[in-house]
Symmetry: C2
Subunit: 592 residues, 2 copies
């Protein structure tokens, strides 16, 4: 491809409102343009990257034995009512009414449609296991689209669904997808971590997320660098502090005191007013668990983890109680709630049980209690891990201090179980003719997010640094003086050789200053730059430079084509070896 | 691919409600399954065909120098208001409201979005000409989806848009797309005809349609087999009957008579009642042309062509008048309208001018007039071609009798002009710095329709007959006894050789009777079948059979692999030559 006849509208300025590096650089590199909020057009260069990610995903899905199909985006609302997700998905589901008064949804995911297909296609255990996938456009009524192509209302997903006869088959299907995801992201050159995750609105009972650590990431990943444990903050357990002594209640501890804290309703205000540290305070939160009021007590500086709270109460649904419900259930106003003499079910976070004394609300307006002793002034009979793990918390596996990183989710695998197959009647007949619900799994990759994550993980002040396998062009051949016939001939000869070997090459034939051209080549992130100049040519030399390195190398012109091919092959081999190492690490971890 | 591990759920029965051959056979061959009205899932085999069509289109678009991009399906309604199409597209446009109260459309086409992009990207004549395309899912609120994947609410389109500085550039861009379409459909092996077409709701001033003649086609194509003239019935002109004598009004023709025709309102009823032939009657139709009432007079058995009527009156909009407007404008009731003494503008179809006398409505209830003489009893000063061309009508180019065929539209090219660029402000600065609206063209291919058209044009009682380039698998290798090791070894060896040469091969490894397997292979339409049996093997022979031929050929086992490759190459070469012949015919036609 000649640069002069390509469509690469690079921008000098950072677009207004863009903060995420991937947003800024994909715009500046002429790869995407905005149509509206959460809606982007992929220009030729951006589309090349998207298609390369798509091709890698497809190859790995096919290699894992999954069948590709293509399901409609427009889905009958009835299917969402049948599965019970019409309610739970809520406003994120885009809805419309079409001619004939039919109510439709624009699929944000396809569990319902694929279950509808499978209940029609599959009837016997002989047809199982089977995994189906598609690479298809999804819709989601995102209230706040942001970060360029990271959170949009329309996006390309690879979604796969496994159908198994029993749990062993499910585990094998899940492992095959897990491994295919690792290979996919390895090949894409992404520095990902796999974390244990909550399953969220999709439902189900086991899941892992594939995360790329980066500042733009909207998820928080908790990692133990000692043993390798990693989980989404929503899911991460907090380990016990092994060496904390068993606490006994001091016999001579004075009784708690009620103090006036007029208008001080937040932990920060109360602690500042009483001149105590936040970690010595407690906060009582009231929820509706399956509609019934319940309370939890956390250390003042900790954050509640609603998934843990829901599980602790054995509830199906959990929502924060509103002021009215709280007043009605506890007789106390928000801001002054406390555990002493509370009449609704209370579960206390483990961290509170380790505290000697604690400042809590007094259950009446403008009153807090100081010197409250856990286990004496309120019961500790129901303890649980109820909070988000945080920086420095002990690892649940090895007890070492964990770290928190921002992470960008690029893939997610779930064991769904029989949620959809039971609700929608997708079953098979076993060898004895008994009808059994099919066990399902579902597996998603955000194709656009691979593009964005690669930029988030690979860029510098000058622009994007694409991994070799995703780069729109792997090599940029830059003749410095396009009017010099010898220079152009040398450039074209190298281009030809590389193209013949299967590489995507862009030849920057623009009649511009070298600095101008180098800036653009760096901005669009071409991994390898080949420079051919008049002066070098006279000395029989050309120059190559890897985008991720600072130094250029000089090569003899005569063997330049072969040397460049050798460079590329070496880089591919190095990457391939890294993938193999990652793979054997995963296998070692699995067998240990 | 082994058949036993593929997902090919063939059906024995014709699905209820299916009438179109492509609908019946794609369902029966396990290529598609219905989700709901106008919504189909592509199963792996169907998706393979769709992807092959897509790949051919992409190659030809790239070869024609068009840039691929990907625009969102969700489009802001504001853009449709800006272009003025919000009204004209009407109910076919799917609309929804998303969070924040934003009104959106699901794109049935992308003129607005691409013009919005281009007014941002392009500012100088130096950036023109340029053609952009995408292969993307479209939505259309089809009130009556039908014929399987032929008319659905969601479909895959290749839509391209050209942007040019002047008419010469436009013509060159249009020709390049026209030629790319011919190559695409040639490569797909479709028996298409190119016809002149009306431009419809897209607007613009020149267009051609690419049609595959087949009984399911919803369009009517008028063809002159003598000179090659072809047009959509909506567009086709009616030639003058060269040898018709100039008609003079007989001086002694009796005056017309008013006769009572109680309750006879249709041409059929009136002619039966009066015992005259329909071609001796006339029908007067009233329209609102840009809101004003106008009338046309046609021969009773002819059909009005609204596009011609609209142009004859020089109107922008045209709609049939309702009973009230007709009564108000003419004072006469529907069913009894006639040209005599009518007070609103009247244009008479040329065919009427050739009639001696004519039966028409009397402009009062239950009255018709017989013996009315055109030119005497009403004026013939405004004559035009106002009707649909029909079987036997003279060709407008050579005068030979034309024929009508049903046709299925698979592609459409338009010269749009400046409709969108003017409405939306997409302009460029010319060499003198003058701002000029960009001239546009648009070009669509229905990817799903290629799949359906290939089946409509290629099938027999046993199933589909795929063209080689679209077939999901080009070769089916069928070992007759899968338990015989020698048979399987021979089958696998042939499979391996063909796969190595780049062919898509399915090996039918199912332990089933030969007849059962042949039926399935025929049903899914694999072009070449290779059969390996125990008996043949003992004689050192295998058998091959083309799907479109009736006789099988016997080949020596020893050289079977090479012979099959030679057969395939010969078929490809034959197809390639047909494409070349088509191309030179097109070029000859162009230069003549």
């Amino acid at each position: 491809m000649r640069w002069s006849s390509a469509l690469i509208p690079t921008l000098k300025e950072t677009p207004a409102d863009a903060v995420a590096p991937s947003h800024i650089l994909l715009m500046r590199a002429g790869m995407i343009r905005q149509l509206g909020a959460g809606a982007y057009t992929y220009l030729p260069l951006g589309l090349r990257v998207l298609k390369k990610a798509e091709a890698i995903i497809r190859e790995e899905m096919d290699a894992a034995g999954a069948f590709e199909l293509l399901m409609p985006a427009l889905q009958p609302i009835e299917l969402w009512k049948e599965s019970g997700r019409f309610e739970t998905f809520g406003d994120l589901l885009m809805k419309l009414t079409i001619s004939g008064g039919h109510h439709m949804a624009l699929g944000p995911t396809h569990e319902e449609v694929v279950t509808d297909l499978v209940r029609d296609l599959i009837s016997s255990y002989k047809q199982l296991p089977i995994t189906l996938y598609q690479i298809q456009t999804k819709f989601r009524d995102e209230p706040r689209p942001r970060f360029g192509i990271l959170r949009t209302r329309e996006f390309l997903m690879k979604d796969a669904y496994s159908f198994d006869a029993d749990v062993d088959q499910l585990n094998a299907s899940y492992d095959a997808m897990y491994e295919a995801y690792c290979r996919t992201f390895d090949r894409c050159g992404l520095p990902y971590v796999v974390v244990e995750a909550e399953s969220g609105p999709i439902g189900g009972d086991a899941s892992h997320e594939f995360m790329v650590p980066c500042s733009t990431g909207e998820d928080k990943v908790i990692q133990c660098l000692a043993c390798g444990y990693a989980a989404n903050q929503e899911k991460a357990e907090v380990g016990a502090v092994a060496d904390a002594p068993a606490r006994t209640i001091a016999a001579d501890a004075p009784a708690y005191e009620a103090v006036r804290t007029p208008g001080r309703k937040t932990i920060r205000d109360v602690c500042a007013f009483l001149k105590v540290a936040e970690p010595t305070s407690g906060k009582l939160l009231v929820y509706l668990a399956d509609g019934k009021p319940v309370a939890i007590l956390l250390r003042g500086d900790h954050e509640a983890n609603e998934a843990k709270v829901r599980r602790a109460f054995g509830a199906t649904t959990l929502a924060p109680a509103d002021a009215d419900s709280i007043q009605k259930a506890t007789g106390a106003p928000i801001g002054f709630l406390g555990p002493v003499a509370i009449q609704i079910p209370l579960i206390v976070d483990k961290a509170v049980a380790a505290m000697e004394t604690i400042v809590v609300g007094g259950n009446e307006v403008d009153v807090h209690l100081t010197g409250v002793v856990p286990g004496r002034d309120f019961k500790l009979d129901r303890l649980a891990d109820l909070r988000n793990a945080d920086d420095g918390d002990p690892c649940p596996r090895c007890g070492a201090a964990m770290v928190v990183k921002a992470g960008l989710e690029i893939g997610h695998v779930f064991k769904l179980g029989t949620k959809y197959s039971k609700a929608m009647g997708a079953s098979y007949l076993d060898e004895k003719g008994v009808e059994i619900p099919i066990i399902m799994g579902c597996y998603g990759i955000g194709v656009n997010r691979i593009v964005a994550a690669a930029v988030e993980a690979g860029h510098d002040a000058n622009g994007i640094i694409w991994p070799l396998n995703l780069a729109p062009y792997q090599v940029a051949v830059v003749p410095l003086s396009v009017k010099d016939a010898a220079v152009m001939a040398a450039a074209e000869s190298i281009e030809k050789k590389l193209v013949a070997a299967g590489y995507d090459v862009i030849l920057d034939d623009r009649d511009q200053r070298p600095g101008f051209k180098f800036k653009d080549v760096d901005l669009i992130g071409v991994p390898l730059r080949v420079v051919i100049g008049e002066r070098g040519l006279k000395e029989g030399k050309i120059e190559i430079k890897w985008r991720h390195e600072t130094e250029a190398q000089s090569l003899p012109l005569e063997t330049a084509g072969d040397s460049i091919l050798a460079e590329l092959k070496a880089a591919e081999e190095k990457h391939h070896n890294t993938c193999l190492v990652n793979r054997s690490k995963r296998e070692a971890a699995k067998s240990s």
